[in-house]
């Protein structure tokens, strides 16, 4: 095994640098490197590469751990939306249709419509926590808001009246969507619960209404005549369904 003249392999050179070589073979490799300058140069460059990596990334070890990564914090608060988790959840959901959940894992590539819904949920998550600037145009300027967003998204969009669900329009904003600009409306209940509607042109004809949820957020999403809609809010499914139906009825009347 350790006869000195046995040629040193590439794997052994790597193992030598990574301290994974059996001790009895180290001397052979060191002798080999003295007479093989090309291999010696590679070994040296790999060590320099390790030094560069540590020089670039070891400072992360000394950074204060952000509060959101503290164990106590994570155990008290539910996980935030995370793209992988959402995509996996949605794939599972869509695979199962509205009948329920089918755990398929995240192996299927997400469809354009799933990306659309992920974008809507990202926007919901991002803006519902905003205290001072949740919207660009306030609900008090409803007519202006509708006119502006209709012009930008390219179809007639009215901010639905959700008073029947106890929700008042906070306002809206324009967002980039996967294929075209998206209109985003936020509503709030007297107790501070926030619901959002995200709508944009989508490369999807018409689908039935579907539901997805994770921790404290839920979404009802559907598409109609090439326009996608996502209503997001707290996970109380009956209530979310009620809000989504109100939105659905009003968009249907306006011709989508």
């Amino acid at each position: 095994m350790t006869e000195p003249n046995m040629p040193v392999t590439e794997d052994e050179l790597h193992a030598y640098v990574d301290n994974a070589l059996p001790a009895e073979r180290r001397g052979d490799v060191e002798a080999w490197l003295k007479t093989h300058p090309g291999d010696a140069e590679r070994v040296r460059s790999w060590r320099a590469m390790a030094d560069l990596l540590h020089a670039r990334y070891d400072s992360v070890l000394d950074e204060a751990v952000p509060k959101r990564l503290e164990i106590d914090e994570l155990e008290q608060r539910p996980r935030r939306w995370i793209y992988g988790a959402i995509a996996a959840t949605l794939v599972a959901f869509v695979a199962g249709g509205s009948a329920g959940w089918v755990a398929r894992g995240a192996t299927a590539a997400p469809s354009a419509f799933q990306n659309f819904t992920v974008d809507a949920l990202d926007a919901h998550r991002l803006y519902v926590v905003e205290v001072r600037h949740p919207v660009e145009v306030a609900g008090s300027e409803r007519a202006h808001l509708q006119q502006w967003l209709s012009k930008r998204v390219g179809y007639e969009i009215k901010a639905p009246e959700l008073d029947a669900s106890g929700l008042k329009l906070v306002g809206g904003r324009l967002l980039p969507g996967p294929e075209a600009p998206a209109a985003f409306f936020m509503y709030e209940s007297p107790s501070g619960e926030r619901y959002t509607l995200y709508t944009s042109r989508a490369a999807t004809g018409t689908t039935q209404m579907r539901y997805a949820s994770q921790d404290k957020d839920g979404a009802m999403f559907w598409a109609e005549k090439g326009v996608g809609y996502v209503v997001s809010g707290p996970t109380d499914r009956d209530r979310l369904n009620q809000v989504a139906r109100l939105v659905y009825d009003q968009t249907e009347k306006s011709g989508g």
């Binding site: 460059s45 060590r47 990596l53 540590h54 020089a55 992360v60 751990v65 996980r79 995509a87």
Partner: protein
């Protein structure tokens, strides 16, 4: 706090380092670490002995693979100040190694970082990636050759300057 939680907590700085090098963007990296920790804490009862460290690296590596898959259809983001002409010395070298890593395919980048930055054994990396050791060796060899060529192309002296 339980011994399990202590072990998980003590790994946070190293997981953040690995994630930062793997994902490049600091916020995305911390998202990955956060999701890794949440999963680990929720799975405490499912963890039946073994090496917590390897297990955490496995979760993070898989999450990153899923993330990249779900983002595959989106445009690739590049850093706004990638071509900062004032960058020099250590800063330029750090930038170059980050770019070199970004140019590797996912499995090679993960092997390179687990071995060279995190100091895991070939056996541990094979378990994390769920492949034979021979596959780890060939991924490592290809990754090292690629990064070496990349760095020599960008700054011919960079691998010589250190040491």
């Amino acid at each position: 706090m339980s011994a399990f939680r202590d072990s998980v907590e003590s790994m946070i700085p190293a997981l953040r380092r690995y994630a930062r090098a793997l994902a490049r963007d600091a916020d995305i990296a911390d998202d990955l670490v956060q999701d890794t920790l949440v999963r680990a804490l929720r799975s405490e009862k499912l963890f039946i002995g073994g090496d917590i460290r390897s297990w955490l690296y496995t979760i993070l590596t898989n999450l990153n693979r899923n993330r990249r898959r779900s983002l595959a259809r989106r445009p690739v983001l590049t850093e706004l100040f990638d071509n900062n002409p004032d960058a020099s010395g250590t800063e330029a070298e750090g930038r170059d190694i980050a770019r070199a890593l970004a140019s590797l395919v996912e499995d090679q980048r993960s092997v390179l970082l687990l071995v060279m930055l995190e100091g895991l054994s070939y056996r541990e990396v094979a378990d994390i990636q769920n492949v034979p050791i021979g596959t780890v060796m060939s991924r490592l060899a290809r990754a090292r050759a690629h990064v070496k060529a990349y760095l020599e192309g960008a700054h011919p002296t960079v691998l010589r300057a250190v040491k």
